[in-house]
């Protein structure tokens, strides 16, 4: 019987672009968040000033302090959304009954929310054609309008920076796939080890006949997008852990390591931290430490990455997060679906505008690493409720594949993207016949 020719997995040129999210070089001097807002405003204002002439060329651009009543002009600044229901630490000390209900709602919006625009010279309350529900604190915009006698700024039109420029996708002839999986939650009640094993076996080519194996050999990379482990809350609530429980804390991580080792033995894997993983809380989350992965980290295909994560594969630009930025937008604003939130972050050219207001963030002094300078080809967000995808097209021929990746432990769904044409499909794994 002839020896079957071994199938070779395709490869793609990989470039990790996470340097901007590294905290290693930063030195904390006790600074607060004013600096990050200053750099954000400065950077975005330069961008917006360049766009104003093609938007409304005949109007003067002025600062907030330079506003004159009744005069039509343009102002540029950072938005602040005043929200009645936004939780405030001061409520704990307030003696009077407030509007905050005892049960925390998932979304803090209220019809009375209003927007304020702020620059270095001052702030002004906004009214008019700018819906508070669509915006959040931290977004930098240009506004056309005029000051009213009441001291507000009546907005006539809003200018956002819009999608950043994108390098065109080079035409490739081969189909190469990247698999995204998120919310594995190893160690939780919803984790099904068989389901994860099925995914691993499929990707590594241990499942199916030749056709399926050919499909698997076209997968060049797996990206694990956050919340890979779930440590029981009773171990992390501040109480001392009994000695018999101490070995149990690390069990989910050990189990994840064993499974990941199977994957990394076969193809390159990127793993990002999520909000439930043993990594720092504030963004950008630093890569999970190699000591957590005693098995998988011995392979050079193992890559622990930051959250947000930016990389390019065969010059296709990828950018994504484990979900905290979009989840926070969901709490403070309204949109028809998660993809619309994602689209907004690209139009605002900022991954996480609510940081540091309601999203934990490192107090940078001289940069804002969440500014999106060039448009990615694939923009992904993990740990979402369901799988959604759309191809967003920009005014300068930008094409972005927006992907909302569902939690694997709940849905059994992983996402596959074709590098050649940005087409997106799912890999669905189930271990019960009645699914």
């Amino acid at each position: 019987m002839p020896v079957p020719k071994p199938m070779e997995r395709k490869q793609a040129a990989y470039s990790n672009l996470d340097e901007r999210y590294a905290i290693q070089g930063e030195k904390y001097q006790g600074q607060q968040y004013s600096h990050i807002y200053f750099t954000r405003l400065h950077h975005m204002r330069n961008l917006l000033h360049a766009l104003v002439p093609s938007w409304k060329p005949h109007l003067p651009v002025t600062t907030v302090l330079g506003l004159e009543e009744g005069k039509d002009c343009i102002i540029v600044g950072t938005l602040y959304k005043h929200m009645k229901l936004k939780p405030s630490i001061l409520d704990e000390y307030s003696k009077e009954r407030s509007a905050i209900p005892l049960v925390k709602p998932h979304n803090f919006m209220h019809p009375d929310d209003h927007l304020i625009l702020e620059d270095e010279s001052g702030r002004v309350t906004l009214a008019g054609a700018i819906p508070p529900a669509a915006f959040v604190t931290g977004v930098v915009v240009a506004l056309h309008g005029k000051e009213t006698s009441a001291g507000n700024f009546l907005v006539e039109d809003v200018l956002e920076a819009g999608l950043p420029p994108q390098t065109a996708l080079s035409s490739a002839c081969e189909d190469k796939y990247v698999v995204f999986v998120s919310g594995l939650s190893v160690g939780s009640d919803t984790f099904n080890p068989l389901q994860f094993q099925l995914l691993i076996d499929h990707v590594t080519g241990h499942l199916g006949d030749d056709n399926e194996q050919i499909m698997a050999s076209n997968i060049v990379r797996v990206v694990v997008v956050g919340n890979s482990v779930h440590i029981s809350p009773r171990f992390v609530n501040g109480q001392t852990v009994a000695s018999k429980d101490q070995s149990r804390i690390a069990e989910p991580i050990k189990e994840l390591d064993i499974m990941l080792t199977q994957l990394v033995a076969s193809l390159p894997v990127d793993i990002m931290p999520g909000c439930h993983d043993p990594a720092n809380f504030s963004l950008p989350q630093q890569p999970l430490h190699r000591c957590l992965f005693s098995g998988a980290s011995t392979y050079n295909t193992f890559s622990s990455c930051s959250n947000p994560h930016q990389f390019d594969l065969d010059s296709v630009q990828f950018l994504g997060t484990s979900g905290q930025n979009i989840d926070d937008l969901y709490k403070y604003s309204d949109a028809k679906d998660k993809l619309e939130f994602m689209e907004r972050t690209l139009r605002w050219r900022h991954l996480a505008p609510t940081a540091p207001n309601s999203l934990g963030c490192y107090p940078y002094t001289d940069k804002d690493p969440f500014l999106v300078e060039s448009c990615p080809h694939v923009y992904f967000v993990g740990n979402q409720d369901k799988y959604e995808t759309r191809l967003l097209e920009g005014p300068e021929k930008q094409k972005v594949r927006l992907i909302s990746i569902p939690r694997f432990s709940e849905s059994g769904v992983a996402v596959m993207v074709n590098l050649r044409n940005l087409e997106c499909s799912t890999l669905s794994f189930s271990t019960s016949f009645d699914a």
Partner: protein, 131 residues
């Protein structure tokens, strides 16, 4: 900690600092002496001060420190608290805001000076240790 430090700069100063608005409009943009335009006193108050003649102008820091304080207070270069003056200068320069070049030399000499007498300008911003 706050006692002697606060006395230092609540002292009235005639030179620099607050600029007199040249028109009666409340919201006038500042001229760059480097001063903060917000909180500018109005005409009547300033002329009253001037009419009383000179007062204690001899502060215990020199002209160099004064220039650096103007640099700290200038909103164009962003917030000053939480970064050293040199870091703020470098940041402003990297952003293309063109901070005065002589201040950088001043700051480099100040940080390398072995004698930290009360005359030599400080590396930290004027609010350091006071807020």
């Amino acid at each position: 900690m706050a006692s002697s430090g606060v006395k230092d700069f609540y002292r009235q100063k005639k030179k620099g600092g607050v600029t007199k608005p040249s028109s009666s409009s409340k919201k006038k943009t500042q001229q760059y002496t480097g001063g903060a335009s917000v909180g500018a006193s109005d005409n009547a108050q300033t002329s009253a001060l001037v009419s009383h003649g000179s007062w204690d102008l001899k502060d215990d820091f020199g002209d160099q420190e004064e220039q650096l304080r103007q640099f700290d207070m200038d909103m164009k270069f962003g917030p000053c608290v939480g970064v050293t003056r040199l870091q703020r200068w470098e940041r402003a320069s990297a952003m293309g805001l063109q901070p005065p070049a002589h201040l950088r030399d001043l700051l480099l000499h100040a940080s390398s000076a072995k004698n930290r007498s009360s005359d030599s300008p400080s590396v930290e911003c004027l609010w350091e240790g006071k807020v």
